[in-house]
Point group: C2
Chain length 123, copies 2
DNA sequence: CGTTGACCTGGAGTGCACTCCAGGTGCGAT
DNA sequence: ATCGCACCTGGAGTGCACTCCAGGTCAACG
């Protein structure tokens, strides 16, 4: 048996990553995604790495990292292993912001629950 | 001694709520804030209630509630006590979304920390 | 009396992150 | 053969939440 590397159609990537096709194209256009491979007809065929990278993007996006910073992270990643310390730094800083976000949310949530209790008490 | 009700200048409200003056005017314009009182010269003088309400707005906004929904909450609040059950419902639903947000963030954070660990392991 | 500074208005502009569209290609099923 | 469908492109449009601007008022300070 002869195997090629496994590839994903746009529809499959949409399914797996939760990004829309337009968003995927947009990410490629701005360079957040490296130029995606194509089949003979010029249609995109995403590699395993593409999908893995999109998972990282999904995570960073969902934690509020702006596209400009993800772009910087993408560039560091492409630049080679010597940028690993920079990548760690970037992720650590982001991690701290995420922690702050969580704490803020927990605090605000307390306020909301309080407000609900107050409303319930006056019913 | 003769006391008026205590009022706040725009600058004081900016200081206390963290909203910019433009944002405050914007909120009043779209009706998120009821028309704010004015002094003889037509300048805004915010009441204690205005400031309290802005605290609530701050909380809802920081937890990701869209303006359209805060507007709905504002309208319910103005409509009188009979809307309290609706307000509770709205806040409960929001509270659930906030909880989901927190859980999501905690999960994503784990992924980020993992990625950092991986990078550190290859150094 | 002049200047500074906080404030006013209506309306235009901004930044972000998509999202949609028109018009076109190529492939597999009927 | 032709239909439907997934996909392609470049570029325009959208929605949200502000943010900025020009031109003006008013009170106080030196």
């Amino acid at each position: 048996m002869l195997w090629g590397v496994s590839v994903y159609t746009p529809a499959e990537v949409v399914e797996e990553t939760g990004f829309t096709l337009d968003t995927l194209r947009y990410y490629e256009k701005i360079g957040l995604l490296e130029p995606v491979g194509r089949n003979a007809a010029g249609q995109r065929r995403f590699s395993e790495e593409d999908v893995g990278w999109l998972g990282t993007i999904r995570c960073l996006r969902d934690t509020g990292m702006p596209i400009a910073e993800m772009l910087r992270f993408a560039e560091l990643t492409r630049a080679g292993d010597h940028t690993i310390p920079d990548r760690i730094k970037l992720l650590e800083e982001h991690d701290h912001r995420v922690e702050a976000q969580i704490e803020n949310l927990v605090e605000r949530k307390r306020y909301i629950r309080n407000k609900i209790s107050y409303y319930q008490s006056v019913l």
